[in-house]
Point group: C2
Chain length 306, copies 2
């Protein structure tokens, strides 16, 4: 869903080798967006069923927070760019039953999972198509609205991706973008090793050409994309012991699991030693304890094409 | 309002000397809460009119975000512990015109300012009394409700202060606490020197016996105070160029001004050199630019006395 796993591999330049050198089984690796025709790196096929389940669980836990205010009018054509395994697609399509969703992803494996997922959910207003966000196979102004979730943070050229999506919007159409921001994380009790473990994710994602601090940049990014009436709202996940379902569903099984997922890569890259890593994970688990508190902020931005 | 300036000096122990060694003209120094009968350090009287105006401006900018959901029933007796110059008092008393507020602070200068402020605002339901939060001159169960805002973060014994306030609540009464958390700050563009300048505030506040990261701890603190039905909600100030009044009122004139206010202390303490400090302030100012974004989170907690 969010995290360093959902990498983009791009032809030419440093991003490719960094990506290929990246995590082999990182969470979310199934949600990779890549250039068309490019060799699909080994790791794209390396995700486990458990990882896929985790990704989907994460979306259902965060559904109301992130998607509760996204409703598209009946009859509208909506592009979902980077649908991954369809976790968001199911939510979007259910919340706007009269809209038609065209969902693209560069990974055929992800699309197959997304198709199965929406079939199982009896979703009938979403179609899927293998495509790359940089080279969308649709004429200009094809869509009334577009939706991009947990995608830009993995791209080395987020501005180009946005320009590509915006060009397919009709005038007056809207773009909605949701991204996380690992730098928004803070917790109690404070733990320097836990902080360092999170920083490993940020570093690994940067080395893979992405940006784990992208959420905070949505306003300038959407403004630079020539959209009007840009509004960005933070969606903070605040978790304390009074919210046991969030302690379990977010702090432990989403965020801490995501950090744990890059252990091997962080160690291999020499970003941290095994003992410090173990202390860091223990620190994150303490933040899920009875007197612990955990905070993470997603950002949701919207703008209108002139 | 919030920041390292509102220090508590406590008799005995390291906190006293650290406090006395603290900022001479820090913003908010007028809002100090101290032990009764204690020598008032020089700096308590060192605040400027400009600083006082800044503090009050800050409250009115943040009023809706922080206080919009605090309303006390007509006829209720409310204790405001640590009222400072009355910035919150005016808001509280206006929002709950039928409630009676008893507002205490250890500083007679602050109380004088608070009295003038409420008189000027034609507030008639607030009375002021010089008192210390650790030794409140009221019988147990004197109040229906209590309100504590930007106080605990400056105390070396926040649990004792809470216990003291809670003991004056009747069974079924509520305690409301609002605190900032400097560790919640993040911004765009990222700037390591700006981050370091903020860390100077955290360090200086810790050396003075306070805790600039206290906001995130409200849930465990209120729970340990034996309150029931504890609910904590984050109040994030999210600022981008679409909100020019917040860029000016919060990012520049509140947060950055607060950081700038500890320059001399940070340099004297050797926490940073002058060049890095200057770069850090420039970094914060960039976050208030056209493509900048700034985020800070306050926490508001409430609990019920059994």
């Amino acid at each position: 869903m969010f995290g360093p796993g959902r990498r983009v591999a791009e032809p030419g330049g440093a991003a490719v080798s960094q990506t290929v050198a990246g995590p082999a089984r990182a969470p979310g690796a199934d949600m990779v967006i890549r250039m068309p025709g490019e060799r699909i790196p080994e790791y794209v096929h390396g995700y486990s069923e458990r990882e896929r389940a985790r990704l989907l669980d994460q979306a259902s836990t965060l559904t109301e927070l992130l998607h509760g205010d996204t409703r598209y009018p009946a009859g509208s054509n909506v592009l979902e760019a980077g649908c991954g395994v369809g976790a968001q697609t199911v939510i979007l399509a259910r919340n706007s039953p009269g809209a038609r969703f065209t969902c693209i992803d560069v990974s055929s494996d992800s699309l197959e999972a997304a198709r199965a997922r929406t079939r199982a959910a009896s979703i009938e207003n979403a179609t899927f198509q293998q495509a790359d966000v940089y080279g969308l196979p649709f004429p200009e102004a094809s869509f009334d609205h577009a939706f991009v979730c947990f995608v830009l943070e993995h791209l080395s050229r987020p501005r180009e991706a946005l320009a590509s999506v915006v060009s397919r919007l009709r005038p007056g159409g809207t773009l909605t973008v949701i991204e996380g921001d690992h730098g928004s994380t803070f917790f109690h009790p404070y733990d320097a090793d836990a902080r360092r473990a999170i920083d490993c994710l940020v570093t690994l994602q940067a080395r893979a050409g992405g940006n784990a601090l992208l959420g905070r940049q949505l306003f300038p990014l959407l403004s630079e994309a020539q959209l009007h009436d840009v509004v960005v709202s933070p969606r903070m996940v605040y978790v304390d012991a009074s919210r046991p379902e969030w302690v379990e569903g977010f702090t432990r099984n989403t965020f801490t699991a995501m950090v744990e997922g890059v252990r091997e890569e962080a160690l291999a890259a020499g970003l941290v030693d095994a003992a410090a890593w173990q202390r860091g994970i223990a620190g994150l688990r303490r933040a899920a304890g009875a007197d612990g508190v955990f905070c993470y902020t997603f950002f949701k931005g919207m703008g209108v094409k002139p």
